[in-house]
């Protein structure tokens, strides 16, 4: 005689400490066990794609900053690449190096934030989060040095980047590169082998390889499921083809792997930055592109490996100064497709862990 129990439905969000923005999940619980979930989003919808239709190609750069506001540089890069493809613009080599350099720094910053909030969701009283933010600040300081803003950078432009880094940027970067591995080591000592972290995340929220591929999940989440797929290797853009770096690939596809893949990617990103510093040539940083330019009618799709996955911009031009249509393939949004499958049968506490390990950003999900 198994006693039947009554399930309760609770609303997690849209205002909830660990939904990373305004995400709402209606969870049906049997005791602590998740029976059913219904993700509801759109609370942060700002109509970026529609707004892009009435901005000029250059002005749209400022909109892309606000997609995934933890990795603005990479968003900029994806967008300007689509524009360049559409308009057939040349990008000077130095600009390509600068793009790769800043994008990788941004990836480190974004992963640090992802790790920090993931551990915050695990309930670690903010300490790892504070450490992660402390290191992230240093990267943001560099961004402020290079383009005057810390988060909404608007650094890249169709045809290049806005500005040459100031002379003091290079020594600052060198110092950062020499100190950063030490900080990451410290972070790793703090959390990687912590028994509680391992117990909470190992085997939790499994995302099998097939499911990950079928639901077109990308980025660290896909790599944690055992697929060695990285656009920087699979479809090298800018100067990634010349960079020597490895791809961390998980074997279980659980929360711990997703988290560890991010930690290891930080090291690889730092490697890329170092190579950029060594290889970067002198030269112009922006090709001659008028402010208002009219790409020929047609369409173009460009994608980059953003910190959360494949970020793609699909632009359609009708020959005007603004795109006819701008479609954004946001990785965070698509990474949420398998959320239901991953969550069913786990406990409420695991919900936060799994959701946190996906590292989504609501600015990108709702666009």
């Amino acid at each position: 005689m198994a006693l039947p129990s009554e399930s309760i439905t609770i609303n997690l969000g849209p205002q909830h400490p660990s939904t990373h923005g305004v995400f709402r999940i209606r969870v049906t619980l049997d005791g602590e066990v998740i029976q059913d979930i219904e993700p509801i989003f759109g609370y942060l919808h700002r109509g970026t794609e529609k707004l892009a239709e009435e901005r000029t190609y250059t002005q749209i750069v400022t909109l892309t900053d606000r997609l995934d506001y933890t990795s603005s540089m990479i968003n900029n890069q994806a967008y300007v690449m689509a524009t360049e493809k559409l308009a057939g613009l040349e990008v000077p080599e130095r600009a390509q190096y600068l793009r790769v350099l800043t994008a990788e720094l941004q990836r480190v910053a974004s992963h640090l934030m992802g790790i920090g909030f993931f551990l915050q969701d695990l309930g670690a009283m903010g300490t790892p989060l504070m450490y992660c933010f402390r290191e992230r600040e240093r990267i943001l300081d560099l961004f402020e040095m290079i383009c005057g803003a810390r988060v909404t950078v608007s650094y890249m432009r169709p045809g290049g980047v806005t500005q040459e880094p100031p002379p003091e940027f290079w020594p600052a970067l060198k110092e950062l590169l020499s100190e950063f591995p030490h900080y990451i080591d410290e972070l790793e000592r703090l959390i990687l082998e912590n028994e509680i972290v391992v117990a909470r995340t190992k085997g939790v929220g499994l995302l099998p390889r097939e499911l990950a591929i079928d639901s077109s999940i990308s980025g660290p989440n896909l790599r944690a499921s055992g697929v060695a797929w990285d656009l920087r290797k699979a479809d090298p853009y800018d100067v990634y083809g010349r960079m020597d770096f490895d791809i961390p690939v998980g074997s279980n596809g659980d929360s711990y792997d997703r988290f560890l893949v991010r930690v290891m990617e930080i090291h690889q990103s730092l490697r890329i930055v170092e190579q950029c510093v060594q290889q970067i040539p002198d030269g112009p940083i922006r090709s001659e592109v008028p402010y208002f330019f009219r790409p020929p009618p047609g369409d173009a799709y460009a994608h980059v490996e953003a910190s959360k996955g494949e970020l793609g911009f699909y632009l359609v031009s009708d020959g005007g100064i603004a795109p006819y249509r701008c479609k954004i393939r946001a990785p965070s949004f698509i990474n949420l497709t398998a959320l239901t499958e991953m969550l069913l049968g786990w406990k409420v506490a695991d919900l936060m862990v799994i959701f946190g390990s996906l590292d989504v950003n609501m600015g990108e999900v709702d666009r």
């Binding site: 901005r55 250059t58 002005q59 749209i60 750069v61 400022t62 909109l63 900053d65 300490t127 450490y131 402390r134 600040e137 300081d141 402020e144 040095m145 290079i146 383009c147 005057g148 803003a149 909404t152 608007s154 290049g160 806005t162 500005q163 040459e164 100031p166 410290e186 000592r189 703090l190 959390i191 990687l192 082998e193 912590n194 028994e195 509680i196 972290v197 391992v198 112009p284 940083i285 922006r286 001659e288 592109v289 402010y291």
Partner: protein
């Protein structure tokens, strides 16, 4: 590996950080150093350099710069210069992307360095032409390589006169010059 070692390692890390100097600063008394390129809210505008071409207004993604001009009768090399009657920047909606500064062909508009303009009313968050005229001229070096090359740092408190703010001191460039310099220099 004995069980509990991971936790012990983590505890040692936090303990070591206990002895470390705090990284936060006490804001009103202490401030973090601001980089010269910081894009702040108080725009710096040189009326002497401005021709009223309204490039900035046109380039602004948000459309928050409002410019009303009238003929001034003052002749320059390119033609008649306009007199500025209104130059309102509604910074409540400004996102400090700096495109207006990037667009200004005469180096008349610069980003500022401030960030403390909390106001109770949205209507107070408009920088009017009078305020632009009166404000301290400490331009950010964002998109102004000429200032940066000179080693200018707005944090030093030093003001820049309108003669020094341009890519060239006084002579207004021709359009070709301007386009060339504008595109090549970056």
């Amino acid at each position: 590996m004995p069980f509990g070692l991971g936790i012990a390692k983590g505890m040692m890390v936090t303990l070591r950080n206990l002895a470390r100097k705090p990284v936060t600063v006490q804001y009103p008394e202490q401030r973090v150093t601001q980089n010269p390129r910081f894009r702040g809210e108080d725009f710096v505008w040189y009326e002497e350099r401005c021709t009223g071409c309204a490039s900035c207004a046109k380039y602004c993604p948000q459309g928050i710069i409002k410019i009303v001009t009238s003929p001034s009768g003052e002749q320059t090399q390119e033609g008649e210069k306009y007199k500025l009657e209104t130059f309102d920047i509604e910074i409540a909606r400004c996102m400090f992307c700096g495109l207006c500064v990037e667009a200004c062909p005469y180096d008349a508009l610069h980003m500022g360095t401030g960030f403390e303009r909390a106001m109770p009313r949205k209507s107070d968050l408009v920088i009017t032409v009078d305020e632009l005229r009166a404000s301290a001229k400490r331009p950010s070096t964002w998109f102004r390589p000429q200032l940066q090359d000179r080693g200018y740092d707005p944090a030093s408190g030093e003001e820049v006169s309108w003669q020094d703010a341009g890519r060239e001191a006084t002579v207004a460039p021709t359009y070709d010059d301007m386009l060339k310099r504008w595109v090549e220099k970056r």
